[in-house]
Symmetry: C2
Subunit: 255 residues, 2 copies
DNA sequence: AAGGATATTCCGTAATAGGGAATGTTTTAT
DNA sequence: ATAAAACATTCCCTATTACGGAATATCCTT
């Protein structure tokens, strides 16, 4: 397609660099960012002022920080799609039923992104948050998505970028993963046994929409000691498939 | 301060215009955006490619749409602050207790922004979503925040921009509002009677942090016919103040 | 297979983004 | 209280680059 990287707007890349530098900070001064990125303070100031005008950056005194415009746009995208709104209520039900953490995940650019999360009574605290992203091949919902992706895209992910090793249990061999994905296509259930986080197990399934196009995936995750035996391999998968099915029916006929 | 509007990066303003044009659309082609904004297709293409490189825009075929990078950054900001994470669990409890819709709101740039929302069993469906923003003076949590803002900032909002009339009930007279805000400072409870949405009532209170600095506000909202009598004026305020108090204690001592 | 529409790339030029210096402003040290 | 240091902000010149128009490629329609 177009990956001709020469035809780009440099000043936007500068602005993005500034945004990225600002993100982890509570607040930063002009010089701090200028030094960090090795650009002139006057330049940083000009960019920050521009971003501030549009609420992408907030300012108190001479401390600059990212503003909530990002959440405004992100939240709007999360809310705009009927499918995502439906998914939200469904995973909340499932979190209540299972008492565990439940997430609704989509694929973008070959990676998984949490669009909604719901926590049940016993849900584990994780550092996962809305919008957080990671590779597909090491999570339950991610593998379920991967299994249902069109073959060329799937193969691109399997062979193209290399399957990053996240934990000792992460499956990094394309052949082993291919085999598992075939199994997932048959059962529509994917398991994650400490492949993304040590001590964490998860069960996932894919969600499809009107013309059977892939929407995303749902996963239920919890500590390995609780996610085991029949509860892990039978009960939760059954609840999960039930919810995914209801969701799919809602998507197909409710609007 | 610096509101010298001459010293800005024009190409970033172009990019922001493109982002804004893209936001409400499901997807758009290059020409569509170029026509709408009256700039050259080659320029639009260059901007979109740059944004796409950084996942602010996604592309399928020649349809461009906003990407989840906005949610990634927004979700990160929402999750980073300990106070906001605490608020999330607290409003979920309150939503369960009251069965209504509960929101955690902050102020930025003189406007309110929903940072977390929780829905109870009977919660009304609204178009409000995470990140949505609006004026402070017409909502319960907004008025609670306004009442607790430092005087100069409050006066700037009251007299500076003009109090927009959102519904027939919105209070737009600065003097009437000042009187109500004094009352709110005494009781720490704010009411909203169809001032932002016809048919919707809400109760709100402010949340303060370690050095009594203002963090945000919490509101409980529901249909007017259910939010009335003692439930509206006594029971819900009591529950709300209880939760706000717990939250403040958590913020002050738990970390 | 041809024609139309649109995406994408190329390229010259006018506009502007960038840096350094000048000017405020605030904080720190004495 | 004053001086000095540190930094934000503004100003201005110049090298860079963002822009638009033209050329080319690609896709779609008939």
């Amino acid at each position: 397609m177009n990956d001709n990287t020469s035809n780009r707007v440099k000043s936007i890349e500068t602005t993005i660099a500034i945004i990225e530098a600002l993100q982890p900070k509570e607040g930063a001064r002009v010089t701090e960012i200028a030094t960090e990125l090795d650009i002139a303070p006057s330049t940083v100031h000009r960019h920050l002022s521009t971003l501030h005008d549009h609420n992408f950056v907030k300012k108190s005194g001479d401390q600059y920080a990212l503003g909530m415009r990002f959440l405004s746009i992100g939240g709007y995208l999360q809310h705009k799609k009927f499918e995502y709104r439906m998914a939200k209520t469904k995973i909340e039900d499932l979190a209540m039923e299972t008492s565990e953490r439940v997430q609704f995940v989509i694929e973008e650019n070959g990676r998984r992104i949490y669009v909604h999360t719901a926590v049940g009574e016993n849900a584990v605290e994780t550092d996962s948050h809305i919008g957080k992203q990671g590779p597909l091949h090491c999570s339950a919902a991610g593998k379920a998505i991967l299994a249902n992706l069109p073959e060329p895209e799937r193969e691109e992910i399997l062979t193209g970028g290399g399957l990053e090793q996240i934990t000792p249990q992460t499956i990094t061999d394309p052949d082993m993963l291919r085999k598992e994905l075939t199994e997932i296509r048959n059962t529509q259930i994917a398991f994650n046994k400490e492949e993304s986080t040590p001590g964490l197990h998860a069960v996932g399934t894919a969600v499809t929409g009107k013309n059977d196009e892939l929407i995303g995936g749902i996963s239920v995750s919890g500590p390995a000691h609780r996610m085991m035996g029949d509860r892990f391999t039978k009960e939760i998968p059954k609840l999960l498939l039930g919810v995914a099915n209801e969701l799919e029916l809602n998507i197909k006929y409710n609007q």
